[in-house]
């Protein structure tokens, strides 16, 4: 990617302290929501962050915008660390980034009209004098494909798709350079999802925005994103250009995830033996590679050491991935048949 790096997240970790077990006498525990995650986003680039519930993808999205706690790591915006920014620095972060939320109704103040909600952003950021404000609101509404007649409606009178467009218009009102979209189409109907995805795609290109698109729907991510990062239990297990990841996944988890998407394609029916089990609780992470209890390819050494993140532009954290300890030649991931029955680790 030749474009300059806009956002550079380095080794970000988020831990939530938990109440002590055994009536406050047990050891102090913490929930590792995000562990040691690094990610770069260039201007004009859309990065997809996918994972199942509990993978920490939303926590990560909120932490980099300083909307949630973060425990360790750096969040460089144009080279300046925002992880501990306060006052004017934090205000700069707020001026240059915006977030789009999952719940189209919940993310709008139910008491404010569209005009008030967007006008407030312009007012706070001193974007337009009171005179030019209405014209700008109309412009923003048109940008997201809404009619100016909706100006004086409240969220309760609008459909989910319309609310989501208003959420986007409001985010664009601050003229951000980076947008984090957190499951922003998950609550919408299929026929409306496409409209929002197309809109984001268009806006991203036209305004040269950096975008992190957090989703569990891989098919949507494939449409929209240039690069994709797959998270499992707080870590990125695979990252690379979208098509490469989809065509030749390097981590067994990514492969299972892609296989599990129900698609209208006679050549891609669901696997007869789907990935067993469910992600364990982030409070008690398994030793070694966190995926090993569910992994069809797991070896005994997967239980002991966290595999390093290896590869060039397309990287994966698996010893069997090209460049991994057991695959230095760089072959594709082996088919899902365990090497020997004894080496196979029983799933719970």
């Amino acid at each position: 990617m030749s474009a300059p790096v806009l956002l550079d997240v380095r080794n970000l970790s988020v831990k939530f302290p938990m109440a002590r077990s055994r009536m406050g006498l047990g050891p102090r525990r913490s929930l590792n929501a995000v562990s040691d995650v690094s990610m770069r986003v260039a201007a004009g680039e859309t990065v997809g962050l996918v994972g199942e519930s509990g993978s920490g993808k939303s926590t990560f999205g909120r932490a980099i915008l300083r909307l949630g706690e973060l425990t360790r790591g750096e969040v460089l915006l144009d080279g300046q660390d925002m992880a501990r920014a306060r006052g004017e620095d934090l205000a700069r972060l707020r001026r240059e980034t915006a977030m789009i939320f999952q719940d189209p109704y919940g993310s709008l103040n139910p008491r404010l009209t569209v005009r008030q909600a967007i006008g407030e952003v312009l007012h706070v950021h001193g974007k337009k004098g009171a005179a030019g404000r209405d014209a700008r609101i109309v412009e923003l509404l048109e940008l997201v494909g809404l009619d100016a007649t909706l100006m004086d409606r409240r969220p309760g009178d609008l459909s989910g798709g319309q609310c989501q467009r208003i959420g986007i218009a409001r985010a664009l009102a601050i003229e951000p350079r980076l947008i984090v979209a957190d499951e922003c189409v998950a609550a919408l109907d299929v026929s409306i999802q496409g409209q929002i995805i197309n809109l984001l795609m268009e806006l991203g290109q036209r305004m040269h925005l950096g975008m992190i698109f957090i989703a569990h729907d891989l098919a949507m991510v494939r449409r929209l994103c240039d690069r994709i990062a797959v998270m499992y239990l707080g870590r990125i297990v695979e990252e690379g250009p979208t098509e490469q990841v989809f065509k030749a996944p390097r981590h067994p988890y990514t492969r299972s995830l892609i296989e599990a998407i129900p698609e209208i394609d006679p050549a891609r029916m669901l696997p007869s033996a789907p990935l067993p089990g469910e992600p364990p609780s982030p409070v008690n992470l398994p030793e070694g590679c966190a995926f090993h209890p569910r992994c069809p390819l797991a070896r005994s050494e997967c239980r002991t050491a966290v595999p390093p993140f290896v590869g060039g532009a397309h990287r994966a954290a698996c010893i069997l991935a090209p460049g991994g300890r057991l695959n230095e030649v760089g072959e594709n991931l082996p088919e899902t048949t365990p090497a020997t029955p004894t080496e196979r680790i029983e799933t719970c």
Binding site: V190, S191, Q195, N198, A219, R223, A260, I261, P262, I264
Partner: protein, 332 residues
């Protein structure tokens, strides 16, 4: 799949009455279900897909909702809509089981999973405690809950999302029903877990000859699971037929649009196909074909007259004045 229908829904209509007005929520929905068949009912939110299934179980969620017409015939010739309360209870447990999107709110939080299932078995058949417990363990094994002897004593909150859905299926299957109505059972689950549950439902059909009505908004899931599919839009059935036929050769413009909307179609890159506009609200239904304001092929006829559900091919019916790919044949 045998030919005798196990459930025949005929012209089912539901209206919402309140504040002096009455809106038709479900308008004349008909379909049949055969033994061992998996029927998918697809539609967006507000299309009435859940409501149809609740109506045929007589489980409408509000007193303002009323079945205004139609019949629901069981295999033995009884109409569910005219059963007495006592007979209805029998039918709900032993003929038709039901599972939902959110198992946690439909399972008893203070009774162990095993006891819930065993009690339900004993409620419907006169068998001893021990026998019921053994049968319950058998069911837990069938729905893929590992180590049933110890898991039977666990409570709902100790189960993960996928395991809860399995437990819910076990409760629904406790009295060995012929029909399972599944209302978006995988929507709240992760895709890898969804794949497990879909696989389980297929197995139950293959092994027990269970008939399933699967309600979903996801055409991909329908494609992976169902034999037949009914597409609903704004309270009406707009297309109904064998699954491969409907999805690969959709006749209704809404179905065609929905298939094209799938993000995985067209190679998975570039702009996503969309259907312009949004579904109408129940109090404000357009006249004629309810899809016509969003339809590219609509004309004056579509705005004026409601298209009837007609068979265009063997086993494929569609409610459209200008079905996709039929115009040429019709004129010829």
């Amino acid at each position: 799949m045998t030919d005798a229908p196990i459930l025949t829904v005929n012209n089912l209509s539901v209206a919402y009455e309140g504040g002096g007005t009455s809106h038709t929520i479900i308008d004349g929905v008909s379909f049949t279900l055969r033994r061992g068949e998996i029927l998918g009912i697809v539609g967006e939110s507000g299309s009435g897909k859940s409501m149809t299934c609740r109506a045929l179980m007589r489980l409408l969620p509000s007193s303002r909702l009323r079945v205004t017409g139609g019949s629901v015939w069981l295999e033995d010739g009884r109409d569910v809509l005219s059963l007495s309360q006592g007979e209805l209870t029998q039918v709900r447990g032993r003929r038709i089981g039901m599972i939902f999107q959110n198992p946690a709110s439909h399972l008893d939080p203070v009774m162990s999973i095993g006891r819930q299932i065993a009690e339900s078995i004993r409620h419907h058949r006169k068998i001893g405690r021990k026998e019921a417990w053994a049968r319950m363990l058998d069911i837990l094994r069938q729905v893929g809950i590992p180590d049933p002897e110890s898991r039977a004593n666990a409570y709902t909150h100790e189960f993960s999302g996928g395991m809860r859905q399995r437990a819910m299926i076990a409760v629904a299957l406790a009295c060995d029903p012929d029909i399972l109505i599944a209302d978006e059972p995988t929507t709240a689950l992760d895709v890898t877990v969804q794949a497990q549950i879909l696989r389980l439902l297929q197995q139950l059909r293959d092994e027990r000859g269970l008939s399933i009505i699967f309600i979903t908004h996801d055409l991909g899931v329908v494609y992976q699971l169902c034999d037949t599919v009914a597409v609903m839009y704004a309270g009406r059935l707009c297309e109904y037929g064998a699954m491969h036929e409907v999805i690969h050769r959709p006749r209704h413009h809404y179905t065609a649009g929905l298939v094209a909307c799938q993000p995985g179609s067209e190679g998975g890159t570039g702009r996503v196909h969309t259907i312009p506009g949004q579904p109408p609200s129940p109090g404000d239904m357009p006249p004629g074909c309810r899809f016509h304001p969003r339809c590219g092929a609509a004309d004056a006829l579509c705005a004026a007259r409601q298209p009837p559900l007609r068979e265009t091919h063997e086993g494929h019916a569609c409610a459209c004045h200008h079905p996709v790919g039929i115009e040429a044949e019709a004129e010829a």
